[in-house]
């Protein structure tokens, strides 16, 4: 089933937001990503057709943004911040813990298709590093115990109470 068959009205709504058709590219790519966790070639070709772009132009945008996945990802997409602030407080060790726990390095997916690990650039939670984002949720001030608990909770229940959402300054009372 093509995107426009499935999300016809939503696509029309997105297109109506922008005076220039091409501007709707990223929202449409997000829509396509929502479909299967990643953007398929067929989806890119379809989006190119909708926006009157050539497929390479869509591909160019899709490869530029690390938030857009071009390969299938697990149910839980772990994105560990590797930028300077988090690196200073030990983002490497976080990746190390996850690797020890799940046996996957950055860019890899576990055999059961549950977890995918990626190292990403700054997620704008520099005050609360080391931190990671799993799907849409932030997990901050990570410690080894916290990572263990997060991964165990996600595996068993599919969600974890440690998710914080980006902290604003000043920091609210700590939870967990």
């Amino acid at each position: 089933m093509t995107l426009s068959e499935k999300y016809g009205t939503e696509i029309a709504e997105i297109l109506s937001r922008y005076p220039v058709k091409r501007s709707a590219l990223i929202p449409l790519l997000y829509l396509a990503q929502r479909e299967g966790g990643y953007i398929t070639e067929a989806a890119m070709i379809e989006i190119a057709g909708i926006l009157k772009l050539t497929p390479p132009q869509v591909y160019e945008t899709a490869t530029f943004y690390t938030m857009l996945n071009l390969k299938p990802v697990g149910t839980f997409h772990i994105q560990v911040c590797k930028s300077l602030m988090c690196a200073l407080v030990g983002s490497d060790t976080v990746i190390g813990w996850i690797k020890a726990k799940l046996g996957i390095g950055p860019g890899e997916t576990t055999a059961d298709g549950l977890f995918t690990l990626t190292a990403v650039e700054c997620l704008a939670a520099c005050g609360t590093g080391p931190m990671m984002q799993i799907n849409d949720d932030y997990y901050e001030r990570l410690t080894e115990e916290k990572v263990d608990r997060i991964l165990a909770d996600l595996k068993s229940t599919g969600s974890c109470a440690l998710k914080t959402g980006p902290f604003m300054w000043p920091e609210p009372a700590r939870n967990g």
Partner: protein, 889 residues
Amino acid sequence: MPESKTDSVRLTIDGIPVTVPKGTLVIEAARRVGVMIPHFCYHPKLKPDANCRMCLVEVEKMPKLQTSCSTVATEGMAVRTATTVVNDAHKSVLEFILANHPLDCPVCDQGGRCDLQDFSHQYTATASRFVETKRIFQKEYFSPLIETQMNRCVQCLRCVRYCDEVMDVKALAPAGRGTMTEIKTFGTHELDCEFCGGCVQICPVGAITSRLSMYEYRPWMLKRADTVCQFCGDGCQITVQTKDNELIEVNSEYGAGRNSGDLCARGFFGFRATGHPDRLTKPLIRRNGALVETTWEEALEYTAQQIARIKNAHGAQAFGGLISGRCTNEELYLFQKFMRLAIGTNNLDSSARYGHMNGVQAMRRVQGTHRWTLSFEEIVQADVLLLVGTNVTETNPITGLKVKEAVKKRQARLFTIESIRPAIGTISNITNLVDQHVCALPTQFGGAVLALLKAVVESRLVDQRLQHESPDYVGAVTQALERLSWPELEAATGAARDTFVQMATGLAQGRRVVVLAGQELLRSAGGYGSCLLLLDLLLLTGKLTEPGCGFAPLAEENNDQGAVESGAVAELLPGGLDLANPEARARIARAWKADLPLAAGATLVEMIDRARSGLVKGMLIVGENPVGSLPTVVGAKEALQRLEFLVCQELFLTETASLAHVVLPAASSLEKAGTFTNQEGHVQAVRPAVDPIGESRPDWEILSALSVLLGTPLEYGDAKELLKEIRGVIPGYGLLGPAPIPPKVDRAAVERYLAGDYRRALAARYTLAGPADAAGGTTHLGLFQSLFHSGKLSTRSKGLLQIEAQAALRINPADAARLALADGDRVRLSNRRGEVTTTVKVLERVPEGSAWFPDHFGQDTAKLFECAIDPDTNVPAFRTASVSIAKIS
């Protein structure tokens, strides 16, 4: 151009004062005074991008270094390019680029002409401070023609920008980010594009190279010859690079020639035909029914003897001649002189007859010129463009680029009447850029122009002065248009009245209106009438005589225009003079010091008819292939078989040449000197790049030798001597300058037309063409020119065959779905005249209900087409037919 004080600025570059027009970039200003600022991403054709940071310069009163490629020169600016700070900046930029650049210059085809190599020698130390492992991209596919080596890429994005801004193809994109940015097409898919070679030419390093000549040369070994492309009427200047008499590559320098350095697939990859093993290297003579190799002496003597025999036995009118529009002006001129003097007949024609004559005769009738009153510059500067039946991307790609430039860079309004649907595809589509588009069948282009005329008249857009000065003409046209009703027109063209009104208003409002008529119009039945209608349109809106406005029929073969101007058509003498005009005849007779034959000559199809009926006994065919080109219904093969004597001068043993009694091997245009006239009427020099293959000789030498043997010596030392004579005969000919000087519209001719000449066949051209050919069938089959092919040369050219090896029928996705067809399926095309089988390619740009078959592969499909002869210009029109399509499982 005089620069007034207000639109120029003065600045100094390294202390050298320079005055440049306002808006000039600093890097260009520096180039003017001979200061070369190193750069990768800047190219004068492209918008500044300033991504490579190589062109940093110091500007006084600016705190930091500026990129000279994006800084506009301002009054009093003081730029310094040779300070330590600048030098250090260049050094560090280069060091970062070289951090990842592989040291494979020895095996890189760009080595020796590489910007990065040159700058490295200029700036950096020999050792790198980076010890880290360099980035490596894995390759996912190999293009047959365009090889990408992304490890060498400096990420200047020139190729991507060229593909988008100039070509409008958008096949390349930078995938990924940062260091790992890679120039790719789409995912792991193979590059499928126009293959214009622009990315190869524009790449400053060796990241994109031509695979066709990969590793066969090093740049310093190449010998170059600047000559003119042999494929279409655009007349692009090409630089042919050869090594040891072998063709290696073709390119075109920035700013060179009429194309200003842009080429198409045919120009860039089509040159290998010249060295094809099928080339004829020795004269052939028919003995016991078979063509066998012989010597030049024997072949020429036998030919002369046979010609003399036919002439003596049956008179000069029993002989006819055909020449290809791919020969040089000198050859075309000598050919017609040979036919008219040595043989004594006007039975001669050239491939301009296939369609170009329609445009030329219309221009002669209405505006009194036989060439454009425009040049490419006027197309670029136009503010309103009307394209009718051009399919310009595929037929005349460089004219297409001029149109794209006008629309994309100069915001011209584009109106098209084409049989193309706007669609994004692997090759660019001019109708994607339109303001208003009418998608009509080629048979209804005339109808669409009529609708446009009707809209002009009804919306009261007729030029006031014309209305005042020639009320008869305006009245007659208005009356003729009143007989047509809108519902009829809308049904025929498939476009609403409003579209035409919009177009008409746009045309009337435009200050510089250019009308381009393409092959599809010129080669369709009623092409002459449609050209007249377009000229009527320009007249009515008052644009015809305005500067910057005009009508431009596009030529298919590179020297169609030259053929007309050299008099290599039955009804015209050199210089576009009318054969029937006694004054013109006297002038040419004076120049030639000999009398011209009086009887009107037979044209292409007439000659074939006469050959069939036995009136024409002998023919001389130079590079033309009527058997392969004309539809079966004309019966060219049977007619030529009946000839007592047929001599062909050919590069290859074509369908026609294989019927000949004598075949003389001719040299290709890369092997001889001469001149070509492009469609603008610009005469450009053709220079030999390689020696003629085998014993082949230039056509003019063969004709000259024959004339001597026939006792009417037309002897010339070289092609230059011929050109000298042509210049004597045709005043003002041979504008071998950088740009043509287009003629002005002849007011006397316009007045003659308005005074009453317009009445001739007025009613006929102001009627809507009937429904298309009724040979049984629902699909409209049209022959169209593929971007990658143009005839016997391209179909023997290695590079082009790698892009498109076989003919495939193009059909619309909707039709394909209806017939359950996919790419590569076999189908049977049939109508009352016959049937053929072919494969299918689904293409979105094809209108529904139409199917396109590439011309030049059309030998099989030739039997499906009817041939209509234009009563005024004798142009055979055979490019449309109706067929039914059935899938073969």
